[in-house]
Amino acid sequence: MRGRILAVVPALNEAGAIGRVVEEIRATRLPIDVVVVDDCSTDETAAVAEEAGATVLRLPFNVGIGGAVQTGLRYARDEGYEVAVRLDGDGQHDAGELPRLLAPLERGEASMVVGSRFVDGTGSYRPPLARRIGIRVFARLVSLLGGHRVTDTTSGFVALDRRGIELFAAEYPHDYPEVEATLVALRSGLRLAQVQVAMRERETGASSITFLRSLYYIVKVMLALLVASLRRYPRVEGASS
């Protein structure tokens, strides 16, 4: 039977982790289907994901994390799913948190729910100082430009209702999308909720953030935020703020 929730799992060379990620999502007993978007992995990611029971979309070349997530959101839009939730393919997002993440959507309180590591200070997540400062600066900036307090704009653990799916299926940043997408959501009048979640350490593979990439990340995101606050965004139909 087909569920009404779609888990979108972007994955690049995560053969070591993807099987368990898919199995854990399917074990939640939610009416949930899993689509793994394989961003042109060179390992067995796609085969392992399929074996574990996921639908796999194989991209013909690497399109970046944002492009991969958007592929899954377009699938959710076209196949008529009511809710889409993104979990990363490396296993850092705990599928056990899904019911809590989805609750504000089910109650109709929000169109976008972000699993935040810093809502109430109870989280155990302690990133290195530089990254902690970066996360906080981006959160402050997005709160200021979007007119709504957000605590974690770099989280990839996000759930969307139909409005959110349609907004981001139409337009989503291709690389390092999370921060900009949060601001676009706020400026489009999408109602945002945050839920405190725990995140796990990476199980296999390495984080894709190196020094040069961090520099590009910061400059690119700053530019995107500047430009996004200069743009006009049509209000999402039916959204209130």
């Binding site: 013909p60 070349f61 400059v219 690119k220 530019l223 995107a224 430009v227 200069l230 743009r231």
Partner: protein, 124 residues
């Protein structure tokens, strides 16, 4: 020393460059990724045009003693070369990806046609 008129024109031109690039990104006709080098070009030229003493110093390092504004041209040329080289690599990647897409579509269409033929066998 750099003539004041050269400095003023340099400032105006580099500010224009930055504004045009920002407007192109805002209008979604230029992606952030490809705007960054242009913005760096504009900002460096702006600094060298506005900070006249700095331009003199840099000219001194490079052995340009007679006419410091020549450094402006040299820096502008260098950045344009960088942008062009960067775009050449992007173009090459896009070419490869485009070919791959065309090939995949051709294979997909053939598979779809074969499926359709198998499902609806001709009469007789």
């Amino acid at each position: 020393m750099t003539p004041i008129r050269v400095s003023i024109i340099g400032v105006i031109a580099s500010v224009l460059l930055v504004l045009v690039v920002l407007e192109l990104v805002r209008g979604r006709r230029l992606k952030e990724r490809y705007a960054l080098l242009w913005l760096a070009t504009g900002i460096v030229l702006l600094v060298l045009s506005a900070w006249r003493g700095g331009l003199n110093t840099v000219a001194g390092w490079l052995g340009v003693t007679s006419y410091p504004p020549a450094v402006l041209f040299a820096v502008a040329t260098l950045f344009i070369l960088l942008v062009l080289l960067h775009y050449s690599t992007v173009l090459s990647r896009l070419t490869d990806e485009n070919v791959e897409l065309a090939q995949r579509i051709a294979l997909l269409e053939e598979r779809l046609r074969r499926k359709a033929r198998e499902e609806q066998p001709p009469d007789g």
